[in-house]
Symmetry: C2
Subunit: 363 residues, 2 copies
């Protein structure tokens, strides 16, 4: 069943839209006082992410506050390796850590893709619960980290500045790395398909760390596994197409390659000019992006000026021949916790208003 | 006067070379036991960088150990803002900090380009001393941070994960940011010209943080100031051309723009395939790069395999019409402190040997 407002889905499928839809990566986050209140009640980030009720509550907060065109499941990209038994926990001020990182041949041999209906059932429960709360207003996006991005955390055992451990394995034992990625391809595919069955109306694959790889390593260890995930996705549910977005942060040099994964849309960060990105791949895929989240810290006026510039750079989504290209407005990275919620209100309004004015001007 | 081995200079100027020259960013660094011994004697990193004798000693260590094709001045990119009076110091485990970061309108108004022959005289003394120690064997590279990269440290007051403070200023007060950059353009130009007068035979501008900017911000705040520096450089000394290299880390999407700065060579990080980079700009500029320094951590064999792949990707530097393109082998970032010095020896040998074999094969 189509949501009442399906502008986001139409933009992803390169169908006509009256305005450019907008949602924001990490829109349910620490810049919102109501999020901080719920998180405090939950006790910890993990408790928040693992409670379907609380995940529903925080997912709804930004879409109740702003006229956003999509909701995104509140969860964490590390739920999958956690369900593999690696022991996810959060160290204050240091981010996520795994108690049992994947380092040895034996560690790799012991890895298996988790059954998403079992150890990740709380995520599917959250998807169902959020769909209920949304009551058909706007679509719900499901998501996962990419196989490579999950592998980074699994091998490093947490975040990293230089990805020393995972790259050392990649260069020394590409066979081991491929085995991890094979498991992750299965795990991510199953996880996203379970989210789609539970009610996700679009899915996004976050390849947060693809951009740290050398060109051939990106192709072998990030792009190829991600392509296999996209190929394995169930692309229809409830009688509707379920669009898929791939996003490699720092992947501007690989746009043409990302457009060939089979995804409906490619996310781009702010280093890429959107008009040039459209010229490169707009005829094959929709684009999602690409405001620098730091522009919002300067306040409503500079952020809205940047948003207008981005929309102008993409131009009228309708081509001269009457066909449409697609643009979903977003940030190029998660919203900063230091963002003023009022600046977000102004941004959403500006994107909607300014993009209506671009329609009919000619691409 | 030409150095005995001027292969590096010829490659930068796209002249015939018998093999592909190699040097490594941060080649005088903590992976070398002899460097650590000198640093210990110096007492601190700053004392090491500020002593012309000790800077000469560590500059010579890698070129005495390996048959590298260039030496690079041992110094720090923050010498210039330090000479502006911002109070550089190093906090253990946290990197550089400025006691007086540039935040307010008054801070910006008080900024002035330092006279490089006065407060940066120790750098020029080091250049002269290193030239003496090199005794004409190989060329000496001088360097500076780019105006934007220096501004990042000056405004943030140190390193940053998100460049929140400097980007907030950029979006809120582009006029203030431009004033800082104007001062930095003058300062960097004067600094590099003083190094050239003191004996630097090539210069490199490190735009370490250009890649964090949105496309139009990169053009206005990183590329344009860097271009003004290149245009202001003294390009001849001792009767020889002094080549200039610009390197924006994460700048793969802007190669064509970097090639138009007037620089002789563009540095590229490992995300860019060198063959494709050559197709994009090889006819206008030499290329420098682009091994992932993490490949060296996996040991000599995987690092050398990567090096051969990179050389093969560039191909025979001589084109079908008899003219030459230029390639200087390097890393895409500074060498890791965890590198085995033996792996570096193997890398240098492999680059020299393998690249000789590529000559005459046809581009």
């Amino acid at each position: 069943m189509k949501p009442t407002n399906d502008t986001f889905l139409r933009a992803l499928l390169r169908q006509p839209t009256e305005y450019t839809p907008i949602w924001l990566m990490r829109q349910a986050g620490r810049y919102l006082p109501e999020y901080n209140a719920t998180r405090k009640r939950a006790g910890s980030f993990l408790a928040l992410a693992q409670s379907p009720d609380l995940a529903t509550e925080v997912t709804m907060q930004p879409v109740d506050r702003y006229p956003l065109d999509a909701a995104i499941l509140f969860s964490d990209i590390l739920t999958v390796p956690d369900a593999m038994g690696l022991g996810l926990h959060f160290v204050d001020g240091e981010g996520p850590r795994f108690a049992r990182p994947v380092r040895s041949e034996a560690d790799v041999a012991a890895l298996a893709a988790p059954d998403p209906e079992d150890r990740l059932r709380y995520v599917m429960d959250a998807v169902r619960s959020i769909r209920g709360a949304l009551a058909g207003r706007i679509p719900l996006i499901g998501f996962s980290g990419s196989p490579w991005t999950l592998a980074c955390y699994m091998v490093e055992g947490g975040g990293s500045d230089d990805f020393r451990t995972v790259k050392e394995m990649l260069y020394r034992r590409p066979d081991l790395m491929q085995r991890i990625l094979d498991v992750n391809v299965r795990a991510v595919t199953d996880y996203l398909n379970a989210q789609i069955r539970a009610g996700a109306q679009a899915v996004m694959i976050f390849d947060t760390w693809g951009g740290v790889l050398a060109d051939p390593a990106f192709r072998a260890f990030s792009l190829d596994p991600m392509t296999r995930v996209v190929q394995g996705l169930q692309r229809e549910a409830e009688g509707e197409r379920v669009p898929c977005i791939v996003f490699t942060k720092g992947g501007g040099v690989w746009l043409e390659d990302l457009a060939q994964t089979g995804a409906d849309a490619v996310g781009v960060d702010w280093t890429v000019d959107l008009g040039r990105a459209r010229a490169r791949i707009g005829g094959r895929c929709a684009l999602q992006g690409n405001l620098d989240p730091m522009a919002l810290l300067a306040g409503a006026e500079p952020a809205c000026a940047e948003a207008r510039r981005i929309l102008d750079s993409f131009g009228d989504p309708q081509r001269g021949d009457g066909t449409w290209d697609g643009h979903v407005f977003n940030l190029g990275h998660g919203i900063s916790q230091f963002t003023d919620p009022e600046a977000v209100a102004a941004l959403v309004e500006t994107v909607h208003a300014h993009s209506r004015g671009l329609r009919g001007r000619g691409a």
